[in-house]
C-alpha cells in the first residue's frame, strides 16, 4: 500500500496521454492535457505527505506540537496549478480561433500543415 498514491499519479499521467493521442475534439484534448498535469499534483503532494501530519499552518497549531506535511511541495503545487490554468486558457483561445479558421475542431480534419 505504500506505493499506491505514486501509482495513481503514474496512471493519471498515462491516461491523460492516451486521451490526448486518441482525442477527436481539440477541447477534449486540452482537457486531457490538464489531466496529465493533475498527475503532477498527485505526485507532488504524495511525495510531501508525512504520516499523521497536519497542514503546515501555525495559526492554530503550536509549532512543534504536531508533525506537518512538507510545505515546499504544497507551494510547488500551487505554482503548478496557476501554470496549468493559464496554459489551458491560452490553448482554449487557440482552439477557438481554430474553430473559426478551419470550421472544425476535429484534429483529423485539420489539413493545413502536412509534410
Amino acid at each position: 500500500m505504500h506505493v499506491l498514491p505514486y501509482l495513481v499519479a503514474a496512471y493519471v499521467f498515462l491516461t491523460g496521454c492516451y486521451g490526448l493521442a486518441a482525442s477527436r475534439n481539440l477541447i477534449h484534448a486540452v482537457g486531457c492535457l490538464a489531466v496529465c498535469q493533475c498527475a503532477t499534483y498527485v505526485l507532488l503532494l504524495a511525495v510531501g505527505y508525512r504520516d499523521g501530519a497536519t497542514a503546515p499552518v501555525f495559526s492554530d497549531v503550536k509549532p512543534g506540537s504536531r508533525p506537518v506535511v512538507d510545505p515546499v511541495v504544497q507551494a510547488l503545487t500551487l505554482t503548478d496549478i496557476v501554470v496549468g490554468a493559464t496554459v489551458t486558457a491560452l490553448l482554449l483561445a487557440l482552439v477557438l480561433q481554430i474553430a473559426k479558421r478551419h470550421g472544425t475542431i476535429d484534429p483529423d480534419e485539420l489539413r493545413e500543415l502536412r509534410g
Binding site: 499519479a9 499521467f13 496521454c17 490526448l20 493521442a21 486518441a22 482525442s23 481539440l26 484534448a29 486540452v30 492535457l33 496529465c36 498535469q37 498527475a39 503532477t40 505526485l43 507532488l44 511525495v47 515546499v72 511541495v73 510547488l76 505554482t79 503548478d80 501554470v83 493559464t86 496554459v87 491560452l90 490553448l91 487557440l94 482552439v95 480561433q97 481554430i98 479558421r101 478551419h102 484534429p107 483529423d108 485539420l110 489539413r111 493545413e112 500543415l113 502536412r114 509534410g115
Partner: protein, 588 residues
Amino acid sequence: MHHLIPLLAAVPLFGAALLVATGRRLSRAAAEITGFVFSGGTAALALVLLLNSAPPMTEWVGGWLPVDAESVGILVVGDGPALGMAALASLLTLAALAYSWRYFDQPPRERTGSFTALMLVFQGAMCGFAVAGDLFNAFVFFELMSVVAYALTGYRIDEAKAVQGALAFGVVNSLGAYAMLMGIALLYARTGELAMAKIGRGLDAAAGPGGPDALVLASFVLVLTGLLVKATAVPFHFWLPDAHAVAPTPVCMLLSGVMVELGSYGVWRVYGTVFAGPGGIPAADLTRALVTLGTLTAVTGAVMCWYQRHIKRLLACSTVAHTGLFLVGLGVLTPEGDDGVALYLLGHAGVKAALFACAGVLLDRFGSVDEHALHGRARRLRATGVMFAVGAAALAGLPPFGTALGKAVAEEAVGGPLTAVYVVVSAITGGAVLRVTARVFLGLGPRPQEAEYEISGSDEEPETSGRLRRIPDTMTTVPAVLLAASLAVGVVPGFGALVARSVNEAGSGGAHASVHWTGHGLLLDAASTVLAAALAGLAVTRPRRAAAPDRAAPLRRLQSGHVGDYVAWLLVGAAFLGALALPGVLGG
C-alpha cells in the same frame, strides 16, 4: 555584482508590465522605443555580467545564503554559458525588435505595444531559464518561455496555419514540461532538494553500491523529455516545423535562433550538475542516448529540409538538423565537444536569424514564401539575395564564419563516422538554402514540378500592412548585422578561446581545451561547403533527379500535422530514451 543576476529576468518583465499599463495611451513609436530601452538595457546588463563571470558567480535570490551548506532559497548561476545564453537571447530579441520596427503589422490597434510586451516577456523568460540553478525554477521559466512562445506563434489569428501550428506547439511542449515536472517530483522525493547541484549530491549520497536505480533512470528520462521536446530531438521534433513555419518572422528569429538551443543548453546544464555524479546516469549511457538521438535528429532534419519548398519551413527543418548536431557534440562529453557546440550555437544563431529575416522580406514583398512560385521573381532584391547566399554558405560551414569554427572544433571532438554526419548534414541544409537562392533570387534552372504531399508557401499574408514596394532599411540592416556577428564569432582573434575557457570553467570538470582553426578543420569545412554547392547545382539543373520530392514521402507523411500523432511519438521517444540509458542501470 552577483546581486544583479536575477534582474536579467526582472528588467524585461518590468518593461512589459509598463507597456501594458500604458498601452492605451502610447504611440507606436514610443512603445517601440520603450521596448528597445528595456531589451537593450538587459542586453547590456548581460554583457557586463558576462565580462565579470570569471570566476563563475552564484546568487541566492532573496538573500537566503546557505547556513551549514543548506538554504531554503533559489540559486541562480552566473557562469559563462548561463550569462552567454542570456546575452545571446537579449541581443537576438533586440535584433528582432529592430527588424519589426515600424513596418511589422502589430494588431490589436487599440492596444499598442502588446507585441513588444510579449517579446520582452519572452526575453525575460529566456534569460531566467538560462541563469536558473534550481530545477523547479528552471521549470517555471521554461513554462513562461513556452506560454509566450505559443501566443506569439499564433499571433496572426487570421491565418488558419498559424493557429493550428501554435496549438500543436502548445500541446506538445506543455506535455513535455509536465513530464519534466514529474521527473522533478521524483528527484525531490529521493533527495529532498530542488537546487540542481544539491540534487546531484543527494543522488550520489543515496546511491547504493549498485549505482543508479530505476528511480534515477525515470527522473532522467522525464526531465530530459521536457528539455528534448524544446531542443526538438527526434522523435520529439514534430511541433517545430509546424510552429516555426507559421510564426511571424521576428518571432521565428528568436524561436530558431535561441529558444530551441536553450533546450540543448538545458540538457548540458542538467546532466552536468544533476546526473553526472556516481549516483546519476553513467557517461557511457548519456553518450549513447544523445549521440543516437542527435544523429537521428540531424539526418531527419536534413532530409526534411532538402525536400521543402516552403522557405520558412525549410529553414525550420534545418534548425532541427543543426540541433541534432549540437546534441551529438554535447553527447560525447569532452571539453572540446562543449566548446565546439558553444561556438557553433553562437554562429548558427546569427545565421539562422538572418536567413529568417531574409525570408520575411520575401513574404512582405511578394506575399509568398514558396520556392516554386517565387522562381526568378526576386532578382531585383540584390542585397537580400546576397545575404541569403552568404547565409546558406555559412550554414554549410564556409570558413571563417562562426558556424565553420564551431563545426570544425566539434568534428574534431566527435571523431570517426560522426564527422561524416556533421559534414553531410551541414552540406545538405546549406545546399537546400543555396538551391532556394539560385531559384528565387537568380531564376536559375527550370521551374520544378509539383509534388503530392507537401505544403506550398504561396498565398500567405504579408506581415506588414499591405505588400511592401520598397524594402525598409531596417529589414536589410538587421540580417546584415546578424551575419557580420556570425562572422565575428569566427574571425575575432581570441574570441573562440574566450568562449572555450568560460564553457570549460563552468563544466567539463575543469579540463581546458584550446580552440583555434586547424588545417584539418578547414579542410572539412571546405568539403561541406563544396558539397553544398554541388548539391544545390545538381538540384537546380536536374530537378527531377536530385530533388524528386516523392522519395522522402514516407518520412514526410509522419509529419502529419495531427496533435495525437505528435503525442504518441513523444511517448515513444521517452520510452526510447529510457531504453538507451537502461544498460547503465542494469549493469551497475
